[in-house]
């Protein structure tokens, strides 16, 4: 997923871009053209490590969804929190959340298209991965591993016709 986030890190004003996957592991890209982005040590000093950022931001998103639920509104797809020292933008993707922290003064509107593009690319990658997994699962595995690839391919190919009848078994 790093390649999905890298273009975001190249945009001016992006401090950090994090994709929080369904398993809760954040994939992180730090901004290369951010005025306020510091090294790892500085980020850690400010408590801006990706794990805590992802946890706090996800918690906020959940709290927002809960707050608007009494209005019969579905959870928001995109949220922007503009503050004195930066802006947080979060975009809901299927099964994941993409979040970006911007420098003070950077416009979240400039990030709308790149973030939607990143989510679309992520979905394409996931679809391709699902397709490959489905193709693999169509071939039933053999109870014992084969010599050919050692991954449980059938000993007898599915399309091969029996070369002998059951009555011809030796013994």
């Amino acid at each position: 997923m790093i390649e999905v986030l890298e273009p975001l890190g190249c945009i001016a004003g992006v401090r950090i871009a994090v994709l929080v996957s369904p398993d809760g592991v954040p994939v992180v890209v730090r901004g290369q053209r951010s005025e306020e982005a510091r090294g790892e040590a500085q980020a850690a000093l400010q408590g801006e490590n990706a794990e805590s950022l992802a946890a706090l931001a996800s918690g906020w998103l959940t709290a927002l969804s809960r707050a608007v639920a009494p209005l019969s509104w579905n959870p928001p797809q995109r949220v922007v929190l503009r503050a004195a020292r930066g802006t947080l933008v979060m975009l809901h993707a299927p099964g994941a959340v993409l979040l970006v922290v911007l420098d003070r003064g950077a416009s979240p509107e400039d990030l709308r298209l790149p973030m939607e593009g990143a989510v679309a690319r992520m979905q394409r990658i996931l679809r391709a991965a699902r397709g490959a997994a489905a193709a693999r699962s169509e071939r039933p595995g053999a109870p014992l591993p084969s010599a050919a690839d050692g991954k449980g391919l059938p000993l007898v190919p599915a399309d091969s016709s029996p070369k002998h009848s059951p009555r011809e078994f030796p013994g």
Binding site: L45, L64, V68, L71, P75, V80, L88
Partner: protein, 362 residues
């Protein structure tokens, strides 16, 4: 700045001044300050921002502009000091640059530089500057973690300077502003050991003694500051509300009448004015907005982003834009996308609202 450009900008300055004289709102102060910044008149821009902040304390846009103007005004000296530090790092240069950075409220950079100062020279003063920077950060963001780190740095500074009152003074300001009176009293007692007979300290000790009985411990007080986002010496909401000849209701009605707008809400404390929704729906909407504002303020502080100035939610319900401010919060719900006119209307609502206009509740 060329003469032609100055002449062309002069008209815009006059226009901005006339607009401000006609309607002294925070947005108009910001517009005039912007014009001065365009002309590189940083001192004048800062003066306009300070004048605006005197009328609209805590206005995020004016504070941001003031910080930026201060930063630019001190930019030349900052660059010169940074150059000299690269050539021959020494405590006096570090001290001056840190002081400028703290004055410009660039606390992160000041803390970073103080750390470098301590590592290179081992000067104990650097620990004090780090503590002061972290303390400024706490006063700005109200994060408990910042206060905890500031206290650790103050402990280190006190060990380095056992008979110095500066770390104690910083500790006292933290305890007093957080409302931890017992801790404040303990610090004043230590200060009195260093300066016996100081009448100001003695008077303060007596005042704190009356407050200390029911005061929470320091950690609990810091927790409360983080939860509410308020320090004990913050002005109450009503005092912050600037006097304005206009009332909220007509503005709210005008906002709700705009195309695509489903509802407009203004809230202050437990009172809300709602346009576009009625009865139970209006109450539910007000409650939801209040919760979103509260959660967003806490989240912004905990994320280290400072005070929240705008929250935007987009989904299949449309768009909800909220402008949280110290004096009150305004929100607009649209079916389509939020436009600049919605933003401007909300800014005017939270920037220039009279306290007495909120008598009618939804």
């Amino acid at each position: 700045m060329s003469l032609v450009r100055r002449l062309l900008s002069g008209g815009r300055i006059r226009e901005a001044r006339a607009l401000l004289a006609h309607e002294p709102s925070a947005a108009n102060y910001a517009a005039l300050a912007h014009e001065h910044v365009r002309l590189s008149e940083m001192a004048e821009a800062l003066r306009v921002c300070e004048e605006g902040l005197a009328s609209f304390p805590g206005n995020a846009e004016l504070e941001r502009l003031a910080d930026r103007a201060r930063e630019l005004a001190l930019g030349d000296r900052t660059r010169e000091l940074a150059r000299q530090l690269r050539e021959s790092p020494r405590p006096a240069l570090y001290r001056e640059l840190c002081a400028i950075l703290l004055q410009s409220r660039r606390t992160t950079r000041a803390e970073e530089l103080a750390q470098e100062w301590f590592e290179k020279t081992g000067d104990g003063q650097a620990q004090l500057v780090r503590a002061e920077a972290r303390l400024q950060r706490f006063f700005a963001d109200r994060r408990r973690e910042d206060a905890r780190l500031a206290l650790e740095l103050l402990d280190a500074a006190e060990q380095l300077f056992p008979n110095d009152e500066r770390p104690l003074r910083l500790r006292l300001s933290l305890a007093s502003r957080a409302g931890a009176w017992r801790e404040a009293q303990r610090v004043v007692a230590r200060l009195l050991e260093l300066e016996p007979g100081d009448p100001v300290l003695e008077a303060r000790f007596r005042t704190l003694a009356t407050l200390a009985e029911t005061a929470p411990p320091l950690d609990q007080a810091l927790r409360e500051v983080e939860r509410t986002g308020r320090l004990v010496d913050d002005e109450p909401d009503r005092a912050l509300a600037p006097p304005s000849p206009s009332s909220i209701r007509p503005r709210l009605k005008a906002l709700a009448a705009q195309g695509g707008v489903q509802g407009a809400i203004y809230e202050r404390g437990s009172t809300a004015l709602v346009q576009g929704a009625k009865g139970a729906t209006a109450e539910r909407s007000a409650r939801s907005i209040r919760e979103v504002v509260q959660k967003s303020r806490t989240a912004a502080r905990r994320l280290g982003l400072g005070a929240a100035s705008e929250v935007l939610l987009e989904g299949d319900f449309g768009s909800l834009l909220i402008a949280p401010a110290e004096a009150g919060s305004a929100a607009v719900w649209c079916t389509g996308e939020i436009g600049e006119r919605h933003r401007r209307a909300l800014r005017e609502l939270v920037g220039g609202v009279a306290a007495d206009d909120l008598e009618e509740g939804a």
